[in-house]
Amino acid sequence: MMQLIGSVSVGLILSLLALGVLISFRILAFRDLTVEGSIALGGAVAGTLLVSGWNPWLATFIAFLAGACAGTVTGILTTRLQINGLLAGILVMTALYSVNLRVMNRSNLPLFKEQTVVSMAQKAVSPDLKWTIGRWDIPVQEVLVVILVLAIIGLISGIMYAFFKTNLGLAMRATGDNEQMIRALGVEVGWMLTFGLALSNGLVALSGALLVQYQGYADVQMGLGMVVWGLASVIIGESLVNSRQIGMLVVGTIMGSILFRLLVAIALRWGLNPNDLKLVTAVFVLIALVAPNAIDVARRKLSTLGKA
């Protein structure tokens, strides 16, 4: 039961990463690999600031800004210097690895007694306070953490939904949908893409900052495989809501992230070797990408066979 609640918390925190991936991959149709660097950047910045005694909320916000800067760099590389989008992301991601080591001054930064957003919520009640449901004893502290994270995600996804309903947000969606059209309507596509990547990576870094505070340490390796992770959440979300409306996509992505985290927890519980996790995730995303097409083809073949 504890594990279950923990999975929900982590799934919620990583849904910010997934929302970032939703913006770059789906809304802007830009394959952004910066994500792997910017989630660790968010963790590194927040962790370092917390160790230096900063206010946790402020530290988290600055992590968001740091991620936005990383996204801006990728955007400038690809729109102003005309570098292929994938390569621009790879360049920034690689550079960020060193930046993150510089920020933390080591490869792993544990948070012991530092006050974090998570510990602030936990301190509201005593660690011994437990809720008993059936045969489970659930520490109320853990429940508070879920509520806190839920509130943060609710707030941010609400802002994001509202943004995409404004004139500016609508222009951003159109940029990924039909570049020629939106340019003919007076939008500078390069600027819009850069702005979108800043938002996307800001969210990703925010996710990293919260994750670090939840798990109690920052690690320079924490970005590994995160693009695929985010993509898996987006894909699961899309099939859950089966809609292309922006509100449904946002809700679906959050649900997708939680569900994916739960699936992983269950798989590990059933004896999946943690070393195989990334392989399994990659295969899962591969199947999710190929299956709809393959099913379509198979269905068409079956129907022609039926006629013959």
Binding site: K165, N167, A174, D177, A184, V187, V189, R244
Partner: protein, 270 residues
């Protein structure tokens, strides 16, 4: 209104694929005139429209729009003055956005886009009325994704979008060429209506001799990156599709000759 001064454009210069698309085009268009642009394939008629729209920057020459020198302006900046409909019905609209959202994007053409709601109740009502006046029955489907509509419907909406804020110049680039005859007729009818109602200054490229003869108050015919004929006033009103075919036939015959020889002969005999 529009003043084009000897513009030139060569694509892939210095390579075997070099195309001298515009070889010195001069054109002045008055406020409120409706100019038809025709020409053989590769004559540079679409290139001329794209040069005006800013899809590329010309190699030499100047383009003035409403007295402003826009020669070096990028495409998105010129959008303030220019409404466009493209040949491909998919180019003019964003497929995964709804009809209402596409219209909302067009309602801010060339303007600052801020954090105001794109679809406020008042804009929704206005859009409903605008779409209803087109008579396509799309007003009750404003919440549908535009990608679910037919090419003709999308092209009609693109036309509506181009005129949503009155453009100083409307550019139509063979906007009925990819449609079935019935949809093409409908879009042309709508085009005439919009241009007449708002007295729009228009440049329209077309392949259809019918359209070229019957629409507009001026016609220019392009051949090999230059304007060969410029027909206006009473002469344009008398023009029939057959006259135009004759002129194309002349071009075809002179095309059989070498380019320089043709122009030499033309100077001597025409």
């Amino acid at each position: 209104m529009l003043d084009i001064e000897h513009i030139k454009k060569t694509f892939h210069a210095g390579t075997p694929n070099e195309v001298r698309a515009l070889q010195g085009v001069d054109l002045k268009i008055d406020d409120g005139s409706f100019v038809i642009v025709i020409g053989t394939n590769g004559s540079g008629k679409s290139t001329l429209l794209n040069a005006v729209a800013g899809s590329f920057i010309v190699d030499s020459g100047r383009i003035r729009l409403k007295g402003e020198d826009v020669t070096d302006w990028p495409e998105h900046r010129r959008a303030k003055y220019i409404g466009r409909v493209f040949q491909n019905p998919f180019t003019g609209t964003a497929p995964s956005l709804t009809i209402a959202e596409n219209l909302a994007l067009a309602a801010h053409r060339g303007r600052t886009r801020g954090l105001g709601w794109a679809l406020s109740p008042s804009t929704k009502t206005e859009m409903y009325e605008r779409v209803r006046s087109m008579g396509l029955g799309l007003e009750n489907r404003l919440g549908n994704a535009i990608g679910s509509l037919s090419g003709g419907q999308r092209q009609s909406l693109t036309l509506l979008m181009a005129g949503l804020i009155k453009p100083d110049l409307l550019l139509l680039d063979e906007h009925t060429a990819a449609l079935d005859p019935k949809s093409a007729d409908q879009v042309i009818r709508l085009t005439e209506e919009v241009i007449r109602r708002d007295k729009l200054t228009t440049m329209m490229v077309t392949h259809s001799m019918q359209q070229a003869a019957h629409l507009g108050d001026r016609l220019i015919m392009m051949v090999r990156g230059r304007i060969l004929h410029d027909i206006q006033g009473a002469e344009k009103r008398r023009l029939t599709p057959e006259d135009l075919l004759d002129r194309f036939e002349q071009v075809r015959r002179s095309d059989l000759l070498d380019e320089t020889a043709a122009s030499m002969l033309e100077r001597q005999y025409v």
